[in-house]
């Protein structure tokens, strides 16, 4: 995944996809889903810890996105930075799910069942991944989102600031504190 250059492309308006979507190119919707489905799913899975809940979250995010794409004027679609826009949507969907259902319920469902995308990993990585998920689960929300976007999704700070609507330095602080806390949880439990 060439995250860096994609982000740059979007920033300077070189990404041709928004114009294709606005112009009615019939290949554009599939391209949008193919391009972003995996990363949105990974974000949802990290935050929700359950693969079927995560799949539903991604589905809902795309539904919201396409409802908007059906209604926005062409100019507005052309001006979209698609990746950041989709992240804002999935962040909202996930946040609502976490708020709406009790957290305990999600955690109760979480144990390693159904981790489809990681099921073919070696035991060692799988264990480490589950530890990370469990530790992330215990971070305050804003730190958890920041750490997930920075280290699981590999987004640059500037894009995280844009997606979450948080000042750049706050994002850096949240990420640093989140990592500090993760260290305590993962390496220094004592």
């Amino acid at each position: 995944m060439d995250t860096g250059s994609k982000a740059v492309e979007e920033k300077v308006g070189l990404d041709p996809l928004p114009a294709c979507l606005a112009n009615g190119d019939p290949r554009a919707p599939r391209e949008l889903v193919e391009r972003h489905h995996a990363e949105l799913y990974r974000y949802a899975l990290t935050m929700l810890g359950n693969s079927s809940v995560a799949e539903d979250a991604v589905q809902e995010a795309f539904e919201r996105a396409f409802v908007a794409l059906g209604r926005y004027p062409g100019e507005r679609i052309r001006a979209l930075a698609l990746r950041a826009w989709l992240y804002r949507i999935i962040l909202n969907v996930v946040r609502n799910l976490v708020r709406g259902r009790s957290r305990e319920l999600l955690v109760a469902e979480a144990p390693d069942k159904g981790f489809r995308p990681v099921s073919d990993l070696g035991d060692e990585v799988r264990e480490a991944w589950l530890d990370v998920l469990a530790a992330l689960e215990r971070l305050p929300d804003r730190q958890r989102v920041a750490v997930t976007l920075r280290y699981i999704q590999d987004l640059p700070y500037s894009e995280i600031a844009d997606i979450t609507g948080t000042p750049l330095n706050t994002v850096k602080t949240l990420t640093r504190r989140g990592v500090e806390r993760l260290r305590i949880l993962l390496i220094d439990p004592a």
Binding site: M1, H37, E39, G70
Partner: protein, 263 residues
């Protein structure tokens, strides 16, 4: 513990996170996952040949919503989005391919049921389209007949407007509705195309203008000239009429199949 030690540990941790994430398979999206998402968030289109040229057909989950002639796929997708607020992808899935075949069969004149989604039309327009859908190939009806059938006998003009905005031409055969005097009337693709389509379907508009109604002197029943019952009247028993009223005065009654409007 000192700060440097913590920093080193944080680096170790972020390194660990990156290693784990790097080993999570992201790669290719399974096709079926993408299809599953797309199936509920966008509509599909396909093209099909018709007597008036290549037609684009837009399909939602509940059936055909939009039929338009010519242009590029982009043009069609744009007018579809304006009208239905949905994006389109080319339908290459099996259900869409089956539907393509069905629509092609219907346009070739066979009687097959194609499910239509007319949810974006007004209740009046929907009633009009339902009635017009029932006009068989080879027959025509006047606007006043459609108006009477939908329960608004004075609304011939509104019927005209409803048909002018028919979202699914050919599938709802609005070309089979003609002026009350048998002249061809308007058509979204031009009056010439309408006359040509009707001629292909075996309707002679010239004859209808001359004799809009035909009665059988044996059964004393009067029909629209294109009613299927007319074909069963022996030529020497046929009686032409200019109006239904004339026929009624002469002692005939209206056909129960084509139900001509008394004017």
């Amino acid at each position: 513990m000192n700060e440097r030690f913590h920093e080193a540990q944080d680096e170790l941790l972020t390194g660990l996170l990156r290693t784990i994430v790097a080993r999570l398979p992201v790669g290719e999206e399974p096709e079926w996952l993408v299809e599953r998402v797309l199936s509920s968030v966008v509509d599909r289109f396909f093209t099909v040949d018709s007597p008036i040229g290549r037609m684009y057909v837009g399909v939602g989950l509940r059936g055909v919503r939009f039929v338009q002639r010519g242009g590029s796929p982009e043009d069609f997708a744009r007018s579809y989005r304006e009208r239905f607020k949905r994006l389109l992808v080319e339908g290459t899935d099996t259900p869409t391919r089956n539907l393509t075949e069905k629509v092609a069969t219907a346009l070739a004149g066979k009687r097959v049921e194609v499910s239509l989604d007319l949810s974006e039309t007004t209740p009046f327009q929907r009633r009009v389209l339902e009635v017009v859908k029932s006009i068989p190939r080879g027959e025509v009806r006047p606007y006043s007949w459609v108006a009477r059938e939908v329960g608004s006998p004075k609304a011939s003009r509104a019927v005209g407007t409803a048909l002018a905005n028919n979202p699914v031409p050919l599938l709802v055969p609005c070309h089979r509705v003609v002026k009350n005097d048998g002249r061809v009337g308007n058509y979204a693709f031009g009056a010439g195309e309408k006359a040509r389509l009707l001629k292909l379907e075996g309707v002679s508009l010239d004859e209808i203008v001359r004799t809009p109604y035909i009665a059988a002197c044996t059964t004393k029943i009067v029909c629209y000239a294109t009613c299927r019952n007319v074909g069963r009247i022996h030529p020497e028993n046929r009686r032409p009429f200019r109006s239904v009223r004339e026929a009624l005065i002469a002692g005939y009654r209206s056909c129960r199949v084509c139900r001509p409007v008394v004017t």
